[in-house]
């Protein structure tokens, strides 16, 4: 039953991948990674055939494209094959950029220069030298102007060059703010103003190694948040009984609490269902099986059973 489901899912996923084959490899990977598993889930749930449930794979792929904000077939090459008229939703992130590759690279480089400039300003321990900022802005301006000249030859869109005043303006504002801060005597706090980097993935100051926090007995979701904010990559091995992670408690961790590990290490949480009445050792055994079957490369099962048996 499940094997049939997963075969059907694999077939379907293969067809979807084929319909998306024109995408750049990284985009393709990002979108279809986990698709087999997802479709197996759909197949296991419904009584009907996958095609009946989801429509033909090409339609599924087209819908995937549009909802994920990926370019449709028609924009890459006029192959004439199934260019469904679906307009993408808000696509501010992954939308196709039809500017030449090198132009994009140049913009990235300029952004990097700006960022470096900002960072170097932050790093200065004595009062900020406003002159540095002005000189930096001038350097960026000259660089941009040269790019502009090259761009004209390469017949770039006009809009591309009109950004120059914007960039210079932003740099000037940063410079002015810093100069103002210098005069005010305090320069440390103001520095954030100029940089538009959203603090989404702000991690704590880089550390090379840290002690594994003790999260045993906490809920899985809590533990995950704490560990992730400490810079660890979290893998959760849960007991098979519960469908939801809610109410799952961390029974043990690998590495065990207090172990000195490199930040960024993948750490494994063994979860058990807090609502079940069974004692920890027996659930730990189940969980061990899960881990050893599912993530054999990750750790040895004996490590786990050792550490869990010490739990009172």
């Amino acid at each position: 039953m499940t094997s049939i489901d997963s075969t059907a899912a694999t077939h379907y996923a293969t067809a979807v991948r084929a319909a998306l084959a024109d995408l750049p490899p990284d985009q393709l990977h990002a979108i279809v990674d986990g698709l087999d598993e997802h479709l197996a889930e759909v197949a296991a749930d419904g009584s009907t055939d996958l095609v009946d449930a989801l429509g033909p794979p090409t339609a599924y792929a087209a819908e995937l494209r549009s909802s994920a904000g990926l370019p449709s077939v028609a924009t890459t090459e006029p192959t004439g094959a199934s260019p469904v008229a679906i307009e993408p939703l808000a696509t501010d992130v992954v939308v196709a950029d039809n500017r030449p590759r090198w132009a994009i690279a140049a913009r990235v480089a300029i952004a990097a220069v700006l960022a470096l400039l900002l960072i170097s300003v932050v790093r200065i321990s004595d009062p900020v030298n406003g002159l540095q900022v002005v000189l930096g802005a001038a350097a960026v301006g000259v660089g941009w102007w040269m790019l502009h000249l090259i761009g004209k030859r390469a017949q770039l869109p006009a809009a591309w060059t009109t950004r120059l005043p914007l960039v210079l303006g932003a740099a000037a504002i940063v410079g002015a703010v810093l100069l103002g801060a210098q005069w005010a005597g305090s320069n440390r706090e103001v520095v954030f103003v100029g940089n538009a980097e959203p603090p989404v993935t702000a991690l704590p100051a880089p550390q090379i190694s840290a002690a594994m926090p003790d999260v045993i007995g906490r809920t899985v979701l809590e533990a995950r948040r704490e560990l992730e904010s400490a810079g660890f990559v979290v893998f959760i091995a849960r007991s098979p009984s519960a469908n939801d992670l809610l109410g799952q408690i961390v029974a043990s961790t690998d590495p065990s609490p207090g172990t000195i590990v490199a930040v960024g290490t993948r750490v494994t949480l063994l979860a058990f269902d807090a609502t079940s009445t069974s004692v920890v050792p027996s659930t730990a055994v189940t969980a061990t099986t899960v881990v050893s079957s599912a993530t054999s490369t990750l750790l040895t099962a004996s490590t786990i059973s050792n550490s869990t048996s010490t739990v009172p």
Binding site: T2, A30, I31, G34, L35, D36, E37, H38, A40, E41, V42, A44, D45, A53, L54, Y60, A61, E63, L64, R65, S66, S67, A68, G69, L70, L89, A90, T91, D92, V93, V94, P198, V200, T201, L221, R224, E228, V234, F235, I236, A237, R238, P240, D244, L245, L246, T289, V290, V291, S293, A294, T295
Partner: protein, 123 residues
């Protein structure tokens, strides 16, 4: 019970609010892709397309509105769970208020009050 031809194109309407409803479905409990599909269908949107949800999750993840982590499952393959980031929660808040305002406006237009109350007695 209701509905004479032709009703509203629900799938078209859905496109505009898919981000918001997907975020809302994950706001309190993290979930994997098919989880989200089920929640939305049980929540009253039977027409929600699997591929749309799947693609939307990937896009929202790419935009930094969702985090993702893998959870081992005994009965099947590993599942990719999604949950809201801080930015995701903020986005949901913004989209909620956008929707409330939009819904109210369309409501006033559809029931006619938008045209009757705004005219006259100003100057």
């Amino acid at each position: 019970v209701s509905a004479v031809p032709p009703g509203l194109e629900r799938t078209q309407l859905l496109k505009g609010v898919l981000d918001a409803v997907v975020l809302a479905a994950l706001a309190d409990h993290d979930g994997y892709g098919y989880d989200v599909v089920r929640r939305l269908r049980l929540g009253g949107l039977p027409e929600v397309a699997d591929a749309s949800v799947y693609g939307t999750l990937r896009r929202l993840f790419g935009q930094g509105l969702l985090t993702s982590y893998v959870v081992a499952s005994d009965e099947g393959p590993h599942r990719k769970y999604y949950g809201l980031t801080k930015v995701g929660h903020k986005a949901l808040e913004a989209q909620r208020s956008d929707w409330t305002a939009f819904e109210a406006t369309v409501g006033r237009i559809l029931d006619g009050t938008a045209f009757t109350t705004t005219t006259g007695d100003e100057s």
